[in-house]
Symmetry: C2
Subunit: 331 residues, 2 copies
């Protein structure tokens, strides 16, 4: 199970059979419900009684918790309460599976470790690669060399500094945090620093996402359709659909898409230097459509996610990879 | 009355006596309550039965409304319901006071007009000046020449494009929208594009604001103290107070303060060109501490807000100025 701040993902592995589930759950709204949610998601995904369960998390960064230590402890408590009747282990940023007791003793080593699971799974099929996993909110840009995860950062701060964690995503990114100004009628317009529109609005308008794939709340609570998304994007420049035409709004969307690609390219250029030229970019995640163009920009081949992660396109990749890690240890 | 998206401000003028009130009311949470709030605020501020009432608004930009037209109409309806038993007029962006019927017919001319009231009041005491009014969320940078408001933009979009509206404020600005990266341990760290911390946290930590002046909700719902503000700022780089020392967090705050000043200076440089060299900067608003340094940077004298706006420091300046405009018309 991969316990995030906005979604809880689970993968059940039974021999060669993989089942995955993703459930929206915003931990800052009602953290007390976490144990119940974990139990429900586990019941949902498991086709039988599991021999063992492994967890990883990013939920500890939520401001439901004052510190990561508090967040990790809370998530471990909820996991034990919900899943503790089975052998339970926790992934570290070094890729080990440790007991809950060990995890409690070193909370910083199990915080935000889910990218390690994905990277290790990719390393098994692509011993030299640049993993670009674009999720709803963040992207992981991880070098894989000689079959090993070659990232230099371990915790979130180190990873931001290294370019290995990029805080831009396919759905939940506030447009005001993507660019300080956007083009409007041949001029640069500074943006309103409100929470008016998100990257899902951009990608819905540009046809990169369907309404069904826009599976987070809209900022204004109105539907996830192109027409409403245009209304939200117009607000970014304190405007509306009476004042701006559809084409003018779509031009803002196209610019912001370009800025997201630029940010990912910039991070990837910092990270990929030591990889051999033939190492491909492996594009993963709900925002794989943002990850794929990075290959072309770096002059690298493109490889898609391991096929066994299935149609969910990698949103559940860390959970699926973690299930495989756990199964390998049990064998 | 100055009806904003997050606060409703009112000023009562009786001869030379001015009373002002500001009430937090976030219109996107419960827009149906607006009429009741207006009635309460009016009862609160008025020491007797007013001869007339004038309103201005910025609430129409809230995403409680699909368009400005819808927002203006909604606010006019609520104002008529709450205050319609007295002669009621509405400020336009040209500085006229028009009837509610006229306002309904030209909603774009009464949307976001409150800066005109402040600018006209300043023009009466400073015929040549650069008004820099920094509020909780936005700043107005308005040239005043020969006793007239010399702004080139009228609506929000035009004003953003002209540098006359700057979307940065002393309290509510999301830090992720102020700068894409901040200094951490001698390096540049990209920021998390979440809603983890706001400009009020920066100015509380730096001693520019007291806990009492932090009169908006905190992003994490915890108290407005320096210690909790540091926790919020640390999250901006996916970190916490276990990982970053107070001095490291305060250095991030100091950088973001500098970025806000830079944005205001940049806008002011675009706007002040045609003003005579002796024209002062008039610093107004809850964020006057951000407006004052602009004078020095432009090599201009500094003049404070007209004294009669009182200790509220200009947050209620548009309401007070509007009351004076209305009174002058009644005389």
């Amino acid at each position: 199970m991969d316990i995030g701040g906005a979604n809880t993902k689970a993968a059940w592995l039974d021999g060669a059979t993989l089942r995955t589930v993703s459930r929206p759950f915003e931990i800052w709204r009602d953290r007390a419900a976490l144990a119940a949610v974990l139990r429900e998601v586990a019941d949902d995904v498991c086709a039988g009684a599991p021999r063992a369960v492994a967890i990883t998390m990013t939920a500890e960064l939520s401001d439901a918790f004052r510190t990561k230590r508090e967040g990790v402890t809370f998530v471990l408590d909820a996991a034990e309460q919900a899943l503790g009747d089975r052998p339970l282990s926790v992934l570290t940023t070094e890729g080990e599976l440790v007991s809950v007791e060990q995890a409690r003793a070193r909370p910083w080593d199990v915080a935000a470790a889910n990218w390690v699971a994905t990277a290790r799974a990719v390393a098994e099929v692509q011993p030299d690669a640049l993993l670009v996993d674009v999720g709803s909110t963040t992207a992981d840009v991880i070098p894989i060399a000689d079959g090993r995860v070659a990232a230099t950062g371990r915790n979130d701060l180190e990873r931001l500094l290294a370019g290995e964690l990029v805080y831009t995503g396919a759905l939940r990114t506030n447009l005001a945090a993507i660019a300080p100004r956007v083009p409007v009628r041949g001029d640069w317009c500074p943006v309103a620093s409100e929470y008016f529109a998100i990257s899902a609005d951009v990608h819905l308008v540009l046809g990169h996402l369907t309404t069904e794939a826009y599976d987070c709340p809209t900022p204004d609570g109105r539907p996830a359709t192109v027409a409403f998304a245009r209304e939200r994007i117009a607000r970014l420049v304190c405007s509306d659909v009476d004042q701006l035409e559809a084409g003018e709004i779509d031009a803002i969307a196209a610019f912001l898409h370009g800025e997201q690609l630029r940010q990912l390219e910039e991070a990837a250029r910092r990270v990929h230097g030591a990889l051999p030229p033939q190492a491909p970019v492996v594009a993963v995640g709900a925002g794989a459509f943002l990850a794929r163009p990075v290959a072309d920009r770096l002059g690298r081949a493109l490889a898609d996610a391991p096929a066994r992660w299935g149609a969910t396109g990698g949103e559940v990749a860390p959970a699926a990879a973690l299930a495989a890690l756990l199964a390998a240890r049990l064998c």
